[in-house]
Symmetry: C2
Subunit: 514 residues, 2 copies
């Protein structure tokens, strides 16, 4: 069928999309979400079909930006259009929908077509949902990791061993990586660390690091920094290690599922050539993983996939029932981390966690008594020195002082309405309030905790302070406090947790950030 | 945040969609596929967000047709935009994704939001995929039926009993309904039959009936026809019995899954007030249901849901390994059905199937020996007379003769390259070739079978004829024959069915048409 083109001026997320008049589509024998082949000037292109009975007249075809430029069309070009079969990858997805295990080449084709934007949102969503519903076994997780590596960029560093650390996330204020990287690099190991920005949390490690130095480095710049300093703290998005992951994340977000957690993490570690890896699994009520048993099972999977990809993995199951340190929000956290590196203040839990994880890495690399070594590297100032080297290598100011870091000056302190002990801190409420205050976009926004679990507090004493860059955000965060409770204070454990009076709409907290 | 509007001129399938600049979206704290509330002139509207770093400048918001007109916007209007929570229905969908059973009010809210286009493709796809993966139990199927009825239109007829029939489809050439409706109506029962058009098959009952009479009646016209004649043959799409179904079908099609089969069928039957229902379940290799055991299980589900909805159901498990009659394609089938009603020709299987099903309905309505009664109604010409009444009432020509029905004059006959018996006919290949010939859009296209399974054929004798309205389609259908085999002829059962030499891409045939 010959149709005349109309430019839609639509990016459609990089997908190849055309809109056909419903009658033309019926004549071609394609339905909405089917495919057509479009031929123009001996170039051929397949696109996903949407139909409309009003927007596009019969005899015309609405064309999105991508197809338009790929075919070199102009307004009113005559193109030949015919029905095209569904891509093979869709048949593989359908198999998974029916509970079949996917083979290596099938997974590769699905991931390739994902990166090439050949699959519609409906198809991607079905794939992710089926992975979540039926689970993916270790073979599939390994193949997915490999396919994500093959469709992304990789880095080869000279020397070694190359080490890495990763937290599955979920605990607000976890700035451990900002200490672990300089600690490990100061011991002479290579740690090419890439991190994500916040997706559903108040701050990602990339957001925290960005307060201290530029993090949007490309892969060559990243390699250069690691070769000069032994470590780096860059944003994963700018090095394009796993472009498939960005697409899957987009679909996972509204669904609050994350079946690709393991392949996503492991593929990026393999892509930077890691030999040794420590995975942090924060555990407890309010963390992603609720029990130690579950954490151990997840650890087993990480170690097994690691061994298949040639990465030696150890896991740290860590206490995840409250924020790490007292600062939440990019700038506040960067400041707290820098202070800890400078041996200022006394953020006991942060220092303990960072030296424990750095110690595990050091021991994997053959050192004895890693934790003591890490503590000494911190105490001696060598970790701080290394951090300043990394900051300089990435283009930041090596002389940055904690006082230089700007934080918001709109503040509101919440005080306890009773005396007692802090019985619990709700991680997801902390995250929610911090986001209402402006995190992560307003780097200077966030929360400062004045009490941790177990601390004694008197009536009228401060529990935490909300910090914002703008008054409107501070007010939104304050309003939010009327609906969510951040800390529980009491003398004894009250036995009634929660009364259910009518059928609740269960809105589980979910952190996608990996 | 105040943003200036840009009109996108996009229908987006009736969905409320806006495009934000990536920076603005981050500032608002929403990601692609999240939601925002847009306020203008004291009217408020929630829309699904897409983000772009290039298409839309910061400070602007691209708005689709629906939001544009609902808010009465003009180019450059200043609207207030803020992050909105996900709709509750999405939380219910997430529960199903985690294998939880859905409650009645949860299902109602999902279906309502589906009809109101409040859910994105990603979310709808996840819902349909989760229903397919985890299955839906009888409670959920019943609630889905009820929700589809509540969100659609219903009909109340005086008198009764009101009867109905339905085939789950999958067998090409099944024009049984064109005989059953007049047979049952001629016996004095009310049968308000609505049917679908072809979605993935060469002809739906609505396409067949449309050759004889108009079928795009609205609900009032449909009721009028049934009140005057006792029966009707209308297209379900024009009476809007279950608008949710049209949306689910769109998503199910690329995925080749149909978890909503039962609710979809039963909701439409309840919507027209059916008291008694016979469900035809064609069974066998090449049909939707492969074995009698499976068919019985499906029958049990139909009967159970029927009893919950107040519909008495019986099921007919019928032979589905080859097409019914010899004609495939809207006009060819309408002609064959009209001839059978006129007692011309001898389409033994069609007449047997139609009188068996009509007989079951008659017996459910209290008649004795229904099949004999149905045969007599056919033989006596009373069924033909009733069909002509219905044709007249729907605005067709009551004197239509089989010879008046136009069929294509581009023809190609396939002959047997060996002598023997017809061992098998591949239903999905028959459907595929008929569609390449132009079905269902070209009503006069299709296939005429000259042999059925078990028939003896000599070398060079005709097996079937492909019929098309246009030469180009005939050639495409002929070319298709090189890749698919429609009939198998042999002397004996050859034991090797199929050799697998390399890993196959399994492309199962799938008929969505209900």
């Amino acid at each position: 069928m010959i149709l005349k083109t109309i430019f839609l001026g639509l990016e459609a997320g990089g997908k190849s999309i055309v809109i056909l008049n419903l009658d033309d589509a019926e004549r071609l024998g394609v339905l909405s979400l089917g495919r057509v082949t479009i031929r123009f000037d001996e170039v051929e292109k397949t696109a996903i079909v949407h139909t409309s009975s009003k927007l596009i007249d019969s005899g015309r075809i609405g064309v999105c930006k991508k197809v338009w430029s790929d075919l070199g069309l102009s307004e009113g070009s005559e193109v030949e259009v015919e029905a095209a079969p569904f891509p093979d990858s869709l048949y593989f997805i359908r198999n998974k929908l029916n509970g079949r295990k996917l083979a290596h080449d099938e997974i590769r084709e699905i991931v390739e077509d994902t990166v090439d934007e050949k699959l519609s949102d409906v198809e991607l969503s079905a794939f992710v949902t089926a992975l979540h519903s039926f689970g993916l076994d270790l073979d599939e997780a390994t193949y997915l990791s490999l396919a994500m590596i093959e469709t992304g960029r990789t880095m080869k560093l000279d020397g070694g061993p190359i080490v890495d650390k990763h937290s599955i996330g979920g605990v607000p204020g976890d700035k451990t990586t900002l200490l672990v990287v300089p600690l490990v690099a100061a011991a002479g190991l290579l740690i090419p660390k890439s991190s994500s920005r916040a997706i559903t949390s108040p701050a990602g490690t990339a957001d925290r690091a960005e307060v201290l130095m530029p993090v949007s480095l490309d892969l060559e710049e990243m390699r250069d920094v690691v070769e000069r300093t032994g470590g780096c703290l860059v944003w994963g998005g700018s090095v394009h290690l796993a472009p498939a992951d960005d697409i899957f994340v987009r679909v996972e977000y509204p669904l609050s599922i994350d079946p690709l957690l393991l392949p996503s993490i492991m593929s990026k570690k393999r892509a930077v050539g890691a030999d040794l890896l420590v995975v942090d699994i924060p555990t407890g009520r309010g963390a992603k993983v609720k029990t130690i048993g579950e954490a151990d099972l997840l650890a087993k999977d990480f170690m097994e996939i690691g061994s298949r990809l040639g990465i030696r993995v150890r896991c740290a199951v860590t206490y995840g029932e409250q924020p790490i340190g007292s600062a939440i929000g990019p700038a506040l956290e960067a400041k707290e981390a820098l202070e800890a590196l400078m041996n200022r203040g006394s953020v006991v839990d942060l220092v303990d966690k960072a030296t424990a994880i750095a110690g595990m890495i050091l021991e994997m690399a053959g050192k004895t008594d890693g934790k003591a070594m890490a503590i000494e590297l911190l105490r001696s100032g060598r970790a701080e020195e290394k951090m300043r080297e990394i900051i300089a290598a990435q283009g930041g100011d090596p002389d940055i002082a904690p006082e230089d870091i700007a934080v918001g000056d709109e503040r509101f302190t919440v005080r306890s309405d009773r005396g007692g002990s802090v019985l619990w801190i709700n991680n997801s409420s902390v995250a929610e309030v911090a986001k209402f205050a402006g995190c992560p976009k307003d780097a200077g926004a966030g929360i400062l905790l004045h009490r941790n679990i177990g601390d004694v507090v008197g009536e009228g004493e401060p529990l935490f302070t909300i910090i914002a860059e703008r008054g409107s955000n501070l007010r939104r965060a304050q309003e939010r406090l009327e609906r969510v409770k951040v800390m529980g204070v009491g003398d004894r454990m009250e036995m009634l947790i929660h009364e259910v009076k009518e059928r609740p709409v269960v809105k589980r907290s979910f952190t996608l950030d990996r």
